[in-house]
């Protein structure tokens, strides 16, 4: 056989073997790519990789790939990728804050037809509703993060304080716990660890406070979004919050610099005694200061109305994924929820599991989680299907921040806020 003939034979053999291999590979290998915010966080991010590895090992033919990303960046990334949808991941981390915007750009596949009744029944009361918009399940809930108030039981006992149920009582507690602990003439311990920074963490807490006072902020009226800001009650409630810093001085100095990490750290280190937060702050406090175990309690946000949404978090399924990818992704989600009896991800992060079984876990039955379970039981604010949710939060943050900085009075800030929200609603209606 001469060289020319030999090369032709070998080429033909290579092509035929490649052609035979392609359909086999296509049939056997399904890749589920996941853009994940849990994976970028410590100390619980490691569990996402562990669960993916365990799933890959148990399911030959399916490969789960994790792409870690910060929750603050995820929507901007998805929005830019949505302009060339072939690059979108099969699953992406989502939350009740982000889901309306993601639905708005058409990248969220409803999970209703992918989840069997048994799986749906495994979620705790209200969780699926908390992940649903217009009656459709927008994302698979992994945890719930309602807000509640964490407090130092030891300091409350020492000062003879009882758990507040109104914001006026809350202020009394904060006043009593604001003091000069070392007697050098300077306040060094504040009652309330407010998150005063103008970012998503600060804005969410402020929104919780406003809801707990009975303010809707925006509401849907016959398909049109309308603002509920320019009224005396809103102004009074707004002023109460800003007065905690500007008048009462019960929150740490330079409050606009206090973001969630700083506020949680102040609380853990004993500079403050009360913090309004998701249950993840308990995990932060114990990690930073293990001596606090046994000294923390939590209670439902004061006020007459529910002060928090259930704040479910989880994974949304992308509309642009193939049917095989979607089916494999749903299998992974079920595995993710149920494969770890130790609940490593939830326990390390301090988040509350979304399932009935998960909510029976030992780590959430003490006083520290009592406020969170009480909040879930008492009922939360229904999910707000407003696509401009992020912009609304920014506008609220700009308003309180302007007062904290001494740039505006409460009246001026609320007036500017009402104008900004009206302009925003024009774009979203």
């Amino acid at each position: 056989m001469n060289r020319k003939t030999l090369s032709l034979v070998l080429t033909a053999a290579m092509l035929s073997s490649a052609a035979a291999a392609i359909p086999a590979a296509a049939e056997e290998n399904v890749t589920v790519s996941i853009m994940c915010a849990y994976a970028s966080e410590d100390p619980h991010g490691q569990y996402v990789y562990q669960y993916a590895e365990a799933f890959n090992a148990a399911n030959p033919g399916i490969t789960v790939e994790i792409q870690a990303i910060s929750s603050n960046d995820i929507y901007a990334k998805l929005a830019s990728m949505a302009t060339s949808p072939d690059d979108l991941p099969t699953l992406f981390w989502s939350s009740v804050d982000m889901a309306p915007s993601e639905l708005d750009i058409g990248i969220v596949e409803s999970l209703d037809e992918y989840l069997d009744e048994e799986t749906k029944a495994s979620f705790a009361n209200g969780v699926l509703e908390g992940a649903s918009f217009d009656g459709k399940i927008a994302f698979y809930p992994i945890d719930v993060q309602p807000s509640a108030v964490i407090y130092r039981k030891d300091r409350f006992d020492e000062a003879g304080l009882s758990v507040p149920t109104t914001w006026e009582e809350f202020l009394e507690c904060a006043r009593a716990l604001t003091l000069d602990s070392d007697g050098d003439g300077e306040i060094d311990q504040w009652g309330f660890s407010m998150v005063g920074s103008n970012n998503s963490s600060g804005q969410s807490r402020f929104m919780s406070y406003l809801w707990s006072c009975g303010n809707d902020i925006v509401r849907n009226e016959d398909g049109e979004w309308v603002s509920e800001i320019d009224n005396d009650k809103f102004l009074a409630d707004f002023s109460f919050w800003t007065d905690l810093y500007t008048v009462e001085g019960v929150v740490p100095t330079s409050i606009t610099e206090v973001d969630y990490a700083t506020a949680a750290n102040y609380f853990a280190m004993g500079y403050t005694s009360i913090i309004l937060s998701g249950s993840n702050a308990i995990g932060v406090a114990y990690n930073s200061n293990p001596d606090l175990k046994g000294s923390l309690g939590s209670f439902v946000i004061p006020g007459d109305a529910p002060g928090t949404m259930l704040n479910a978090e989880g994974y949304a399924l992308c509309t642009y994924a193939s049917d095989e990818e979607k089916a494999a992704a749903v299998e992974f989600l079920k595995f993710f929820s149920n494969n770890d009896p130790e609940l490593g991800l939830w326990q390390a992060s301090g988040k509350i599991p979304a399932t009935i079984e998960g909510q029976k876990a030992e780590y959430i039955v003490g006083d520290d989680y009592a406020g969170y379970l009480g909040t879930i039981e008492a009922g939360t604010v229904p999910t707000l299907n407003f696509p401009g949710f992020a912009a609304l939060k920014t506008a609220l943050g700009d308003a309180y921040s302007a007062v904290f900085a001494g740039q505006s009075t409460n009246e001026e800030a609320v007036k500017a806020l009402a104008k900004e929200v009206d302009s925003m609603l024009e774009d979203y209606n």
Partner: protein, 298 residues
């Protein structure tokens, strides 16, 4: 000349033209893809209320009109001009001072030239975080030093105060950016012939007059370029200010670049942000034109 000769000549010219186009085409293509197309697309979306995916509501010049009728945009613009003025002025003050000193001969001059260039070499985020820690109201070293000197009695929030955040940010931006101006001016000074200074000295010019009548005119081309570069660079500054204050507290440090980013990627109002971006582009272009006219090298 025969007709054939003319046609042959024209043919060669055409070949030369084609070769020229072929040589510039990669650069032209890169410019079209990386500069012209994004700008044209930005201009296009500025006429829409859009999320860039499935909502494209035409709004015409609404966002351009809003920019001039609603305070958010023009207040941010004025704030940015003030910021740019003080930062660039600070750079030139320090730049002139240090380049003059470092242009003299003294022992260890190279060492000091390297030391004074260091701030320019650090990434902006690193510097921003460094100063955020230095100025932290609870455990920042700045408050500790001022307290130990007896200059303050209680901790001060530098970046959390409506009155102190803006000057604090300007200070950090001056510190970060002066080495570029210093280096440019120093290289300009080194290119001025020593004869000119000797002649001025013989004519009885003082050091100040030598600076005014020899150094400044000799630096004019460098000044022109540096001023344009520095102004436009700091007019669109984002990283340092965002990392230090996020535009706050309130809107005290909310520069136009932060406003545009926030409008696009926090509020997802891409059309409005694009309209603001186009206006800022025109302003930057005008700044360079105005400087070009004012500092024209005659």
């Amino acid at each position: 000349m025969s007709t054939d000769a003319v046609s042959i000549g024209t043919g060669r010219k055409k070949n030369h033209d084609n070769a020229g186009y072929a040589f510039v085409s990669p650069a032209a293509l890169a410019m079209i893809l990386l500069i012209i197309y994004p700008m044209a697309y930005g201009f296009y979306i500025s006429f829409f209320n859009t999320n860039l995916v499935n909502k494209w509501n035409f709004v015409g010049f609404k966002y351009y009109l809003q920019a001039f009728t609603e305070p958010d945009f023009y207040q941010s613009l004025i704030r940015t001009f003030i910021f740019m003025f003080f930062v660039v002025a600070g750079h030139f003050f320090l730049g002139f001072l240090l380049s003059n000193l470092l242009n003299k001969k003294f022992f260890g001059r190279t060492f000091f030239r390297v030391i004074f260039t260091l701030p320019w070499l650090f990434p902006e985020t690193v510097i921003a975080l460094l100063f955020t820690w230095i100025m932290n109201p609870m455990y920042g070293i700045l408050n500790a030093i001022l307290k130990s000197l007896g200059l303050i009695s209680s901790n001060i929030g530098w970046l959390g105060s409506g009155t102190r955040a803006f000057p604090a940010v300007i200070f950090v931006c001056i510190w970060k950016g002066y080495p570029l101006v210093m280096t440019m001016l120093l290289s300009g000074m080194q290119s001025i012939p020593a004869d000119l200074y000797e002649a001025a000295e013989l004519d009885g010019a003082t050091k100040w007059k030598q600076f005014l009548h020899v150094t400044i005119p000799g630096l004019r081309p460098v000044l022109n370029t540096t001023l344009i570069l520095d102004s436009v660079w700091w007019f669109k500054q984002y990283t340092l200010v965002y990392t230090m204050t996020g535009g706050g507290p309130g809107k005290t440090t909310d520069l136009i670049s932060l406003s545009i980013y926030g409008t696009a990627f926090n509020d997802f109002r891409f059309g409005k942000a694009a309209a603001w971006g186009i206006i800022v582009f025109i302003i930057c272009y005008l700044i360079s034109k105005i400087y070009g006219v004012v500092l024209k090298d005659e």
